[in-house]
Symmetry: C2
């Protein structure tokens, strides 16, 4: 699940906080991530939050591992498949991937993403980071689209891998 | 008016044809551009079409000017404002800007775009060209959103310039 501008940017740069998205986007992210029980993210994305997101497991891909906190924070590295198996062994059935572009790319290349939820905020950044960081081709099936507020849209797609 | 993938790409590269967009997107583009009477585009975008788009004036920004064809093809260079005044003198009240990223950026920086129509095709490219090519900030107001077909969405925004 990712928020982006109407011109497809998820942030101006790696260190930008997610403070430019609507409260409805944040609310939906909290709702969906709590329902999943797990949010997986890269260390740059994790660094944009003041602290681990409460009431769900924050799984952070990072070269430098820190202190795990049971049920709240887990530092991981290595192959995404291995991490997913580990999460399954901990009893989690699904996980929400929350970016950034590098981790999204890694998971998509390995065909580990089944659905993608995009909220489109009413902004233009012109330049910045995209949802993905490499040439990858996939088709999508639009499952749902709705307004979250007057100017923000939520799109939900199923990913159809091409080969 | 621009077509983009769900990850915000308008093309994989400068020379990619627009053959990846839906027939509903193409139909809407024809409809809206004919209604405007004028399509403005850059020379790379123009080069992706086999010939000038019929029944409307194709205005092509290019360093190398070619042969004009009255009512169908006009080669221009220089400042966008000057070109728009020239078009007004020819009796055109509005024009559709059809990309690419460089020309979109030029017009947006000069606050010459009032509305933006984006069709979102059910695809991921991962990498490629974006709607704009430079850091620019603007806010948007969502005027309309609807499905063009099962998987393609059309979003229409008003641009709110920040300063």
């Amino acid at each position: 699940m990712m928020a982006m501008t109407a011109d497809g940017k998820i942030a101006k740069d790696k260190s930008q906080l997610a403070d430019w998205t609507s409260k409805e986007d944040k609310k939906l992210f909290v709702e969906i991530s709590k329902e999943h029980g797990v949010v997986i993210m890269g260390s740059n994305t994790f660094a944009t939050f003041p602290k681990p997101l409460p009431d769900r497991l924050n799984v952070v891909f990072s070269k430098n591992s820190g202190q795990d906190i049971e049920g709240l924070l887990k530092w991981v590295q290595g192959e995404p498949e291995t991490v997913l198996v580990e999460l399954e062994n901990l009893g989690y059935q699904k996980a929400l991937l929350g970016g950034g572009a590098y981790l999204n790319t890694l998971f998509l290349k390995k065909k580990l993403i089944t659905e993608i939820i995009i909220t489109i905020e009413p902004k233009i950044f012109g330049a910045g980071l995209s949802l993905f960081a490499e040439d990858i081709n996939a088709d999508l099936q639009l499952l749902e689209h709705r307004r979250l507020n007057e100017n923000t849209l939520m799109l939900k797609y199923k990913i159809i891998y091409l080969q």
